[in-house]
C-alpha cells in the first residue's frame, strides 16, 4: 500500500498515534455508539479520548470550516480520511444529530453569533442535539405542525408537543419547528428555533417500541421561553431551513443501508449457521436473496460515493438524498429480515446473555421503522417523482 499522497501519509500517521487500540474495532451493538453531550457516560476512557482527539482536530466534521473548529478538508481529503479510518477499523468517534442535521443548517442559515455559539461544541461532541419535528398530527404532513411560538416582545413563548424525538430524554438542546404565524398558509408560518432542554416547561415521556426499547420520546412544551437570538434564519421562513436539514438527515439515514453487520458479512454468517452442501449454501433460495442483497449493498455504496463526488464537499445532495434514504432503508430492512431467516428460532431469543438480550430480534424490529422515520418511503418516492422526474400533480 504505497501511496505518494502526502495527506494520506499525514492522516495515517496521525491515526496511528491517536486512535486508541480499543477503538479500532467496529461497533458490536448500539450501546457502543458514542453520542457525546453534557451527561454522556463514556463506556471507557478510550472512547472519551478518541472523541476528544478527533474533536480537537476537527475531524468529527471533516469538511466544516476551520474558523469554527472544523477540519477544513475538501471532498478528496475527506474520502482519504474515511478510507484510512476504515483501513484500521477505526469506529466513528461521534454519532451526532449536531453533525448530521442542525450543524449543516446552521452553517448555511445561522447568524454569525449562532455559528460561534453552537458549531464548536457540536464538533467537540459536547452538546447532544435533539430534533423537534414530527407531531401527533403532523407526520408525513410535517408542515401541518401546530406547536406554537408566540411573540412576547423580547422572547417567544412555546406551547405544544413533539413526537418521535430520538433520545429526547438525553438531549441537551433542541432544534424545533414551531408555528409563528397561525394565519399564514401552512408552509409560510413556520420557524426553526433552538433552546436548551433544561429550560423550565420542557418535559419528555418515553415511547416504547415493538422492539421493547424506547429510543424515542414525546416532548411536551408548557410556556417554554425561547430567546429571540435563537431563531434560525428569517421568521416564518423555517420551512426552507427544515427541508435543507432533512436532506442531510436523509443522506445520513441512507448510509445506514451500508451498515456492516455485527458478526461479519451476512453471507459468512449464513455459511456458519446453515452450512454448505456441494460447495454452495445448503439453502439455495436463501442464498440467492443473500447474494442479491450483497450486490445491491455494493451498488448503494458506489452510488453514495458517486453522488457525494458529484456534489461539493459538505453541500446538500438535494432531492437525491430522498433516493438514497429510500434505497438505503429498504436495503437495511431486507438485511435484517434475512438475518432473522438465517437465525431461525435462535433469532427469536429475547432475553439473556447468550444472544445479547435478543439483539437480533430487537434490531430487526427496530429496523421496521427505517422506512417511516425521516420521511416515509412513500414520501421519498413522491419527492423523487416530482423534484427529479418532474411528474405532475
Amino acid at each position: 500500500m504505497s501511496d505518494p499522497n502526502p495527506f494520506r501519509l499525514e492522516v495515517r500517521n496521525w491515526l496511528e498515534d491517536n486512535c486508541p487500540e480499543a477503538m479500532r474495532h467496529p461497533y458490536r451493538s448500539e450501546a457502543d455508539l458514542c453520542w457525546g453531550g453534557r451527561g454522556f457516560e463514556f463506556q471507557s476512557e478510550d472512547q472519551k479520548l478518541w472523541l476528544e482527539r478527533m474533536g480537537a482536530k476537527g475531524w468529527t466534521a471533516p469538511t466544516w470550516p476551520i474558523e469554527y473548529g472544523g477540519g477544513g478538508l475538501n471532498r478528496e481529503q475527506e474520502k482519504i480520511l474515511k478510507q484510512e479510518m476504515t483501513r484500521i477499523g477505526a469506529r466513528p468517534p461521534l454519532y451526532s444529530f449536531g453533525i448530521h442535521m442542525i450543524g449543516p443548517a446552521l452553517l448555511k442559515f445561522g447568524s454569525e453569533a449562532q455559528k460561534q455559539q453552537h458549531i464548536p461544541p457540536i464538533i467537540r461532541g459536547e452538546i447532544w442535539w435533539a430534533q423537534g419535528y414530527s407531531e401527533p398530527n403532523a407526520g408525513s404532513d410535517l408542515a401541518g405542525l401546530q406547536a406554537r411560538a408566540e411573540d412576547k416582545g423580547d422572547h417567544y413563548l412555546l406551547n405544544g408537543s413533539k413526537v418521535w424525538t430520538s433520545y429526547g430524554d438525553r438531549g441537551d438542546w433542541m432544534f424545533c419547528l414551531v408555528r409563528t404565524d397561525p394565519d399564514a398558509p401552512k408552509h409560510q408560518g413556520i420557524s426553526l428555533v433552538l433552546f436548551d432542554m433544561t429550560t423550565p416547561g420542557v418535559s419528555t415521556r418515553p415511547i416504547k417500541l415493538i422492539s421493547g426499547k424506547s429510543p424515542f420520546t414525546e416532548t411536551i412544551f408548557e410556556n417554554v421561553r425561547v430567546e429571540k437570538e435563537q431563531l434560525v434564519g428569517e421568521i416564518n421562513q423555517g420551512w426552507t431551513v427544515a427541508k435543507y436539514l432533512l436532506t442531510h438527515e436523509r443522506e445520513m439515514i441512507g448510509a445506514t443501508g451500508l451498515t456492516r453487520t455485527v458478526g461479519g458479512p451476512i453471507s459468512q454468517q449464513a455459511v456458519e449457521a446453515i452450512g454448505l452442501k456441494n460447495g454452495i449454501l445448503a439453502e439455495p433460495a436463501l442464498r440467492s436473496e443473500i447474494a442479491r442483497l450483497e450486490i445491491d449493498s455494493e451498488a448503494l455504496a458506489l452510488t453514495l460515493e458517486r453522488v457525494r463526488d458529484e456534489a461539493k464537499a459538505g453541500a446538500s445532495l438535494g432531492a437525491a438524498s430522498s433516493m438514497l434514504k429510500y434505497y438505503g432503508t429498504e436495503l437495511n430492512m431486507r438485511r435484517q429480515e434475512l438475518l432473522m431467516a438465517i437465525g431461525g428460532s435462535a433469532a427469536l431469543d429475547w432475553e439473556g446473555g447468550d444472544n445479547q438480550d435478543g439483539q437480533a430480534a430487537r434490531s430487526w424490529l427496530r429496523s421496521r421503522g427505517n422506512s417511516i422515520e425521516g420521511g416515509t418511503s412513500e414520501i421519498m418516492l413522491n419527492i423523487v417523482a416530482k423534484r427529479i422526474l418532474g411528474l405532475p400533480g
Binding site: A299, M323, L391
Partner: protein, 363 residues
Amino acid sequence: MLRDSARDFLNESAPIPHLRSLRDEDNQDRFSRELYAGMSEMGWPAILVPEEYGGLDYGYCGLGIILEECGRTLTPSPLLGTALVGVTALRKAGSEQQKTELLPKAASGELLFALACDETSRHQPDHVETSCIAEHNGFRLNGRKVAVHDGHIADQLIVSAITDHGISLFLVPPKAQGVKIERYPVLDIAAAANISFIDVELPANSLLGEIDAGEAVLTEVLDAARVGISAELLGLAQEAFERTVEYIKERKQFGVPVGSFQGLQHRAASLFADIELCKSLVIRSLQSLDGISPGNAELYSATTARLCKTAHLAANEAIQMHGGIGMTDEFDIGFFLKRCQILESLYGDHHYHVDRYARLRNY
C-alpha cells in the same frame, strides 16, 4: 465530448427507425455495413486497439460510453463482438504475429470477430465438448457451438475447445473446410448462428494463447464482454425510462396526465433509484477493466446481475406505462424489451450472475 459526438452520430445515422428498416428490408446481416464504416471513421472499433497496431488505446471507459449510447438507440453493430470481445481476446492472448495481422484490420473496421463459446442454450462456457486434437502440423477441430453472437457475419471465429489438459482457444476462419454456419433470426431484430466443425484442419498458428490455458483467458474476455453488455443495457434502460416518463407526462386519461397518479409515480421513482445504482456499477466496472479502480470478477458479476434485472424491469415498465400502444409493432418501445432479452441471454443473465457472484464469494 466522446459521449456527445457518439450521441449526435447515432441520432443522425442510426436512430430506432434504422433498426426497423433493417428488419423490414430483411437485411441478412441485421446490421448496416455502411453504418459500420461510419463508426470506423469515428474510430470506434479502434478504441481498445493499442497504438502500435493502429488503434487509439482509449480504454474500456471510452468504449463503454459508445456502447451505452448504442444502447439508447438500439443500434445494431459488430462493436460488442469485434471492438470489445475480439480485440480483448487478441490483446490478452494474441501472439505478435496474430496481433500484427488482425488488430489493424479490426481497428479499421475491415475484420469482424465472433466468439463461439457456448454449446448449450443457457450460457455455460465451462461446458465444452468441442475438441481439438494436435496433429503433425496443427490441429483437428470437431464439435458444435450454438447461439454465436455475430456468428453469421464474422471473418474470424474465436472457438473454445477441449485439448489434452484443459480448454484452449483457437482462431478459426469461417470459410475453412468443415465449418458449417447456420444463420437464424433472433426475435425479429437480430440474427445469430449455430456453427458446426467437422474435421476442420487448423494450422499450428491458429492457437490463441497457451495450449490448455484458455479457460482463464476466456473468463477475462467474457467478463469484459459482460461489462460492455452492462453498459449497453444501461443506455437501453435509461432511454426506455426517459421515453416513458415523457409519455406519462403527456398522456391524459380521466382528464389528467397519467403521470400524476401516485401508482405510476412511485414505480417510476423506484426505477429511477435502480437505474442510478446501475450507473455506479457500470462506471466502476469500466474503470476497473482499465485498471484505474479496484475490481474483480465479483464486481463484474454484480454489475451484470443488476443491469440485467433493472434493464428488463425498465423495458417491461415502459410497455406497461405506455399501455396498449406499447404492445403495437408500430410503436418503438417494444424494441427495447426484445434487445434487452437478447443481451441478457448472451453471456449470463441475472440468475447466472447472482449464482456466480455467490460462488466467487464462497457460498
